[in-house]
């Protein structure tokens, strides 16, 4: 077994950095083929099932047009064409939920889930400009 050495990071961040040689990762495609397995989801928090589940939870109706929970303001953001096409497909795929989401609502949920993957610690470090 390879020896792993940990060293302390900068005094500012107090982060611990793994400086050992990186182990070559095994290709998931090799594992999938060997087991003749079907991909059923991901635990990264950003798979189609997670998006669908989040949309179902966050899209509520109090009688009128269903709205996303937690939305307090609408803002304009730059739109990348290929991303928008993907969001349209995702919204269409979620059309069988209790409340059918709009493409904009789908964009908000995907952004929300993406941002959830950035920890508060990382945000604080970024604010302190501690990233190299």
């Amino acid at each position: 077994m390879a020896q792993i050495r940990f060293v302390t990071g900068t005094k500012k961040s107090g982060r611990v950095v793994d400086t050992s040689t990186k182990v070559k990762a095994l290709d998931p495609a090799v594992v999938r083929k060997a087991f003749n397995a079907k991909t059923a989801g991901s635990s990264t928090g950003m798979d189609l099932l997670a998006i669908r589940r989040a949309m179902q939870t966050m899209l509520q109706s109090s009688g009128g047009r269903p709205a996303l929970e937690g939305v307090d303001e609408r803002v304009k953001i730059p739109k990348i064409g290929s991303d928008w096409e993907k969001l349209e497909k995702l919204a269409h795929a979620a059309g069988d939920l209790k409340h059918k989401p709009s493409t904009g609502q789908m964009a908000a949920v995907v952004l929300h889930l993406g941002l959830m993957r950035i920890s508060e610690e990382e945000l604080k470090a970024a604010a302190r400009k501690e990233f190299a």
Partner: protein, 70 residues
């Protein structure tokens, strides 16, 4: 790991099977794992057959896979 509650849809009968599967986590040496992958595939199939499972699930590198037990 503590047991979790899971559900599996039997597509042949349409029944939803609710059970408490046991999760086993392991850390591997990639080279040794790749070298003995066939044995591990056989082991998963054997466990599935002996415990009467229609499918077995594995999670590898944060992706969840379903394996038909044949």
């Amino acid at each position: 790991m503590p047991p979790i509650r899971g559900a599996w849809l039997n597509r042949e009968s349409g029944n939803l099977v609710i059970e408490e599967p046991v999760l086993v986590y392991t850390f591997i040496d990639p080279d040794a794992f790749a070298e003995r992958l066939t044995e591990i595939v056989d082991l998963v199939q054997e466990i599935g057959l002996k415990t009467g499972q229609g499918q077995m699930a594995i999670e590898f590198n944060r992706t969840f896979y379903l394996i038909d037990i044949t």
